[in-house]
């Protein structure tokens, strides 16, 4: 278990460093940071002064290590437009996105897992066909269009739900649905496939043969094994939901990380963009690492194999 944990940690660390280097190299190659700070109409003297002041004239590797060092200690620099620490800006936006993503993930699991189980127990039944159809439609539906349709129906026509902002939890209902439905087909298909495979195994036949109640076989014997791949997929999907919030938050004007990212991109506020990409990548890596370790705890074949 220790060797496995160390190996996973090593990979996670390499990935984080690679992502940080890519992010840094990319933003610095793409735009002259001095010009971004100076804004429109800066003279060459202005640019030279800014380069010296902000340290943009040093070798790229030195700048990168410097940036990485201060990032690791939690100093993410200052926002160019908002003129305050990036950490403060992020701290305001993150709770909104975390609330949204957690709500969406819960909703997705609550809908997709039961549907997947029923579909697996009764393949080719009407409920199987219904959930398969739902998955096909879900996969093809653009998130932002789905959001707009909900706004038109529930917000404007029926006036049931507020269409923008994040003042109360009710404001999160439509965005959470818009974000959740994207994960539903994937989780449902995986649950269904996993359950079908497990239900065909010998130990399930044995459990049934010795006369266990069908419910007990299903939930106690089959489900536990079918859930193993779900752990990893839930982690990956949660990462996707965090990153995918940029579209949903823009549609519903929720002032979370996604909205902040979109705003910062349109304003060329590089320190914020860098920080968001890095933090999201870090969260993703940690989630996947946790899922790997959790799977190893749950399944001895992984940690011993």
């Amino acid at each position: 278990m220790l060797a496995y944990t160390l190996q996973r940690l090593g990979i996670a660390l390499i990935v984080v460093i690679a992502v940080s280097a890519l992010t840094f190299a990319f933003t610095n190659l793409a735009v002259d940071p001095a010009r971004a700070v100076a804004g429109e109409g800066a003279t060459d003297q202005d640019l030279a002064r800014i380069r010296a002041e902000y340290g943009f004239d040093r070798p790229p590797v030195t700048q990168y290590l410097d940036w990485l060092g201060s990032t690791a200690t939690g100093n993410l620099g200052n926002s160019i437009r908002q003129r305050r620490p990036v950490v403060d800006v992020l701290a305001e936006a993150f709770p909104v996105t975390i609330t949204l993503s957690c709500a969406a993930m819960t909703l997705a699991l609550l809908i997709a897992v039961p549907l997947g189980i029923v579909a697996a127990v009764r393949p080719n039944s009407w409920i199987d066909r219904f959930s398969q159809g739902l998955a096909v439609i879900g996969m093809a539906m653009p998130t932002f269009w789905f959001g707009l349709l909900m706004i038109m129906l529930f917000g404007i026509r029926l006036r049931w739900l507020p269409i923008s902002g994040d003042a109360t939890l009710v404001h999160f209902v439509m965005p959470a649905i818009a974000l959740a439905y994207y994960s539903i087909p994937i989780v449902m298909r995986l649950t269904r496939a996993g359950m079908i495979d497990v239900l065909a195994t010998d130990y399930i036949r044995t459990a049934r043969a010795k006369g266990l109640l069908p419910g007990k076989v299903l939930f106690k014997h089959a489900l536990r094994n079918a859930m193993l791949p779900l752990v990893s997929v839930t982690a990956v999907q949660f990462g996707h939901l965090l990153a995918g919030s940029v579209v949903v938050e823009t549609v519903f004007a929720l002032h979370g990380v996604g909205f902040l990212a979109w705003q910062s991109i349109t304003q060329a506020d590089l320190p914020i963009i860098q920080a968001i990409v890095l933090v999201l990548a870090l969260i993703y890596v940690v989630l996947v690492l946790l899922a790997d370790l959790l799977n190893a705890v749950l399944d001895p074949r992984i940690r011993l194999g």
């Binding site: 990979i11 390499i14 990935v15 984080v16 690679a18 992502v19 890519l22 990319f26 933003t27 793409a30 735009v31 393949p123 080719n124 096909v136 439609i137 996969m139 093809a140 539906m141 653009p142 998130t143 932002f144 269009w145 707009l148 349709l149 706004i151 038109m152 404007i156 298909r189 995986l190 269904r192 496939a193 079908i196 495979d197 065909a200 990956v236 990462g239 965090l242 990153a243 995918g244 940029v246 579209v247 823009t250 996604g258 990212a261 979109w262 991109i265 349109t266 060329a268 963009i273 968001i276 990409v277 999201l280 990548a281 993703y284 890596v285 996947v288």
Partner: protein, 302 residues
């Protein structure tokens, strides 16, 4: 459908050629039919479009689609603009046709680019294993931890929303599924006896990869290609919707949705029509992929 679900047709279906089996597959047929109609409409856009998609006519602003005249007695709606005109008086049908053309073009180009990158990496990792596999795996994990939409948005905004940039960015970001799937199928195929036999009789590695491995992994390759093309079409629309993809006045489905958003309180059709086109296009691509997956009895996870 998972491989463990018994085939209803049973054994005889196996003896038929792929075309004959495809004919009995409704999902695949519907997908192909929808896609053909959309692709033809997009290809023939210059012939089919009733107006110039860029031509503005301020006397025709926000003219609703023709059925508004029948259902609600709208005086402005007419066959002049069958699907209405946008807030600059540009013909909606013409813009939809050219927008679909752009979606298909970007989808195909991104699919090709990401397919080349991803399948090269995946096949190399699966065939050579060892250090190559490890390196590809690290590259893959790095790519997966990069937030896709965000980085695509940032890059497009930094370099400008030309079609070339959009294709390059999405192509460089969407190769992950190709690599994952082709790695595992290549690994399975490489273990087969015919590959060992080819090695024994002295075939070169490129020959083995192209003539022995590639034909055997073509089906999953095509399935992943449909998934990625659908994703590319959706992402282009999302980027354009957020104002950081295809730039005005180009007709793009995502951009049309963004432009119609301000009028959605009064003219809901401005949102529903481009959305339906986008949805049906992606649905058609997905149905083709699902159909092939079913026919080849591939795993759901590909």
């Amino acid at each position: 459908m998972s491989a463990s679900v018994p085939d209803i047709e049973g054994e005889p279906a196996r003896n038929q050629g792929p075309v004959a089996r495809a004919r009995q597959h409704p999902v695949l047929l519907v997908g192909i039919a929808l896609f053909t109609v959309i692709a033809l409409a997009a290809l023939l856009a210059p012939v089919l479009a009733p107006h110039d998609p860029y031509a503005q006519d301020f006397t025709q602003r926000r003219v609703p689609p023709v059925w508004y005249a029948w259902l609600y007695g709208s005086p402005k709606a007419s066959w002049l603009h069958p699907l209405g005109a946008d807030n600059l008086g540009r013909d909606y049908l013409s813009r939809l046709l050219y927008g679909t053309r752009l979606s298909l073009l970007i989808g195909l180009a991104v699919m090709t680019a990401s397919g080349l990158i991803g399948s090269t990496l995946g096949i190399a990792a699966g065939y050579f294993g060892g250090r190559v596999d490890l390196a590809v795996n690290l590259l893959l994990t790095t790519r997966l931890s990069i937030p896709l939409v965000l980085v695509a948005l940032a890059v497009v905004s930094l370099f400008g929303g030309s079609i070339g940039i959009i294709v390059a960015v999405l192509g460089l970001l969407l190769w992950d599924r190709f690599a994952v799937v082709l790695r595992s199928v290549t690994m399975q195929v490489s273990r087969q006896d015919f590959v060992a036999a080819a090695r024994v009789i002295g075939c070169s590695t490129p020959y083995i990869l192209l003539r022995e491995i590639l034909p055997n992994i073509l089906a999953p390759l095509i399935v992943v290609a449909t998934v990625e093309m659908a994703l590319a079409v959706l992402l282009e629309a999302a980027l354009s919707f957020l104002g950081l993809g295809v730039q005005p006045p180009e007709p793009s489905l995502g951009l049309m949705l963004a432009e119609g958003k301000n009028d959605m309180f009064f003219d809901a059709w401005m949102i529903t029509i481009p959305g339906v086109v986008l949805f049906v296009l992606v649905l058609a691509i997905n149905l083709i992929g699902d159909g092939i997956r079913d026919l080849m009895a591939l795993d759901r996870t590909t």
